[in-house]
Symmetry: C2
């Protein structure tokens, strides 16, 4: 199990009771996801997966895939998650349509970036919904336009629970179907999520309640939460967190005021050579969460080599890179603690399915807790509609 440690003092409110009410009122359904049974589609033959989806339809899958990929020998997933013409063209050259399974994910069923890329794929590879229907899987809301299209052409389809929004959907079919098909053990991911979820609802996760209470009460002073993750494998997890935090907590509250906590993603030790100076001497307007992996397992030794003139670096010889990275995280944390910044630390025991499943539900529950204390609707995103309207006006 992961370790969660607050390095600041805080009182706490009973957010668990608030979230129980949300659960009972069916305001969101993500609390149920770790307990679901996911039935996989019948065995299909394919070498690689092409996942077409943007935002909540791909960020979570990508977070888990990147975290586990180099450790597990899963199938490659190509992500078509941004309709950039240069990378899209490059992707088209890399994909072999004969040996690929295409998974199209859109909650509404009509996401512009996703449907346009799908159309371009059909055209470029000369694929046909009628004759190639076994190469497709559609994941969408029941009765969405995409669901109806799937029915028409007998395309395999999976549903997203109506009351689970994109950014909370990774543990639903949205993430679990592609990950299972790629070869990951989704049961272990769900187990990790279940483990923490139960403890939270039993009110055993006091650190989470304190952190949520502190961040909600002091959001005007500590406007930004930095997630400083010491592993390249967590870079896509940080992107998932950026969406979860920003899209959930940037809202108009019940009194009509704009509130919001801004997420910031850093990767260590790399960003000690970048953003750290701002944390060390800039204004104290941020909280910082240090996230690290205690044991990288297949680690590499820093060899016992002395190079002339570079003897000052020899103190680290004989350590592993994983140990160095962890020591750097601890030293940086200690240096920032002197400034009285609200800092907390999350330590994953190692890179595995349970630790990432647990981490996901931890951040989801934290987000819901902060949202409920801010008296906002954590689960909608009304602010993004305006731009879509203008786009249609300008083009249509």
């Amino acid at each position: 199990m992961n370790s969660y440690r607050l390095l600041f003092e805080s009182e706490y409110e009973d957010v668990v009771e608030k979230l129980k009410i949300e659960k009972e009122q069916n305001i969101t359904g993500y609390y149920e996801l770790p307990f679901q049974n996911i039935s996989l589609p019948p065995k299909k033959k394919f070498q690689e997966i092409v996942l077409i989806g943007i935002g909540g339809s791909s960020l979570g899958t990508r977070a888990i895939d990147s975290f586990l990929h180099l450790k597990r020998k899963a199938k490659k997933i190509h992500y078509l998650d941004n309709p950039d013409p240069v990378t899209f063209k490059n992707k088209l050259h890399q994909i072999d349509p004969k040996t690929s399974l295409f998974i199209l994910i859109s909650k509404s069923g009509t996401t512009l970036e996703t449907i346009t890329q799908f159309k371009a794929l059909l055209h470029y590879f000369n694929l046909d919904l009628q004759n190639n229907n076994e190469q497709f899987i559609f994941i969408s809301d029941q009765n969405s336009a995409l669901d109806k299209l799937a029915q028409k052409y007998k395309i395999e389809r999976f549903y997203i629970p109506k009351n689970v929004g994109g950014r909370f959907s990774v543990l639903s079919s949205v993430g679990m179907i592609p990950l299972a098909l790629a070869g990951y053990d989704i049961e272990r991911i769900l187990y990790g999520a279940r483990f923490f979820l139960k403890r939270f609802f039993e009110k055993k996760e006091i650190a989470l309640m304190k952190k949520a209470t502190f961040l909600a009460k002091n959001w005007k002073k500590f406007r930004m939460n930095v997630l400083f993750s010491y592993a390249n494998e967590l870079e896509n997890f940080n992107k998932w967190y950026m969406q979860l935090w920003g899209e959930s907590l940037g809202k108009i509250n019940s009194k009509g005021e704009s509130v919001g906590l801004t997420p910031i993603s850093l990767i260590g030790p790399r960003d000690q050579h970048s953003f750290l100076q701002l944390l060390a001497q800039g204004p104290i307007d941020k909280s910082v969460t240090f996230l690290r992996i205690a044991n990288f397992e297949e680690d590499i030794l820093i060899p016992n080599i002395t190079l002339p003139y570079l003897e000052s670096t020899d103190f680290i010889n004989g350590f592993t890179f994983g140990q160095m990275v962890n020591e750097q995280a601890k030293a940086t944390m200690k240096s920032l603690l002197k400034r009285n910044m609200p800092i907390d630390e999350i330590v994953l025991p190692c890179i595995n399915e349970e630790s990432i499943g647990e981490l996901i539900i931890y951040f989801e529950l934290l987000t819901s807790s902060v949202g409920s204390l801010l008296q906002i609707n954590t689960y909608n995103q009304p602010g993004v509609e305006e731009g879509k309207k203008i786009l249609r006006q300008n083009i249509g």
Copy 2:
């Protein structure tokens, strides 16, 4: 040439005079870089480059490489920029030491993450400074420890001007040597930078002066500057900007107060499905810079396909993906303008060497201008030393 457009009103101070003083007093030397002659090393035989460097030693090179890579057929550069054991091990499997040129970059010459990775490379590939010296290039300050090591083993070396810090060094040997060796036309990059630099010092870039004045005067209200770049090719440019902005502008000012502007990186249209909600309804504590590429040139058409039930997406058929991305940027900008946020827009005519050279010097000059108005030292980073000291205490 790029287009720079402010969508808010502001007075401006004559920052050009302030920067001229910095130039005369030799406080920073980056203003001279676009005019330098870079002499390349004698022709070497190699297929790929391995660049070992962190922070300012790699971010700028990576920004330009990622921007141009799919368009130009340059050699592959492997970046060892973060000592993460999992990705490092994976990289070791990808690198063929026999056909690789190893470029080691460290301004101080003793950067821990860089030297440890270099030692591990020597060990893993059984390389030897004496016998394989032609496979190495070292880039560092003159008389640094690394420079002395290079002299000892007759390794090709290049210098970084003493008064050019890492984050302002991409147009020095730090970026230009690896990029030239990879096959990029560095003259065109420097030409773009020169073009804008001259105009700036001729006081023709009023928009930059206004933007700098506004951001410096209102930093407590608009604490964050979001760079919203509508192209995957700009993702590493955004990371370079994060370092430039954060490490330069997070400082203690001449009155002893902590000041600082926080950089945030977004990629569009992807992050319209993520962070946009926070911009649209959250607190107005950010300025937003929209960055887009007017013409992607080798673009892809959205085919004229109608899918049953998905007719609502047909309004965009016949456009290119590049056009769609640009229209989305414009629509999002328009939707945020209604909130009276300080927004500006940068449009690159296309993906080429001049546009990225110009963009780099634009952001460097903007950073220097804001820094001088905030009365801070834009060019040092004293705050990062504390963590390094603690690391040595804990380990040494």
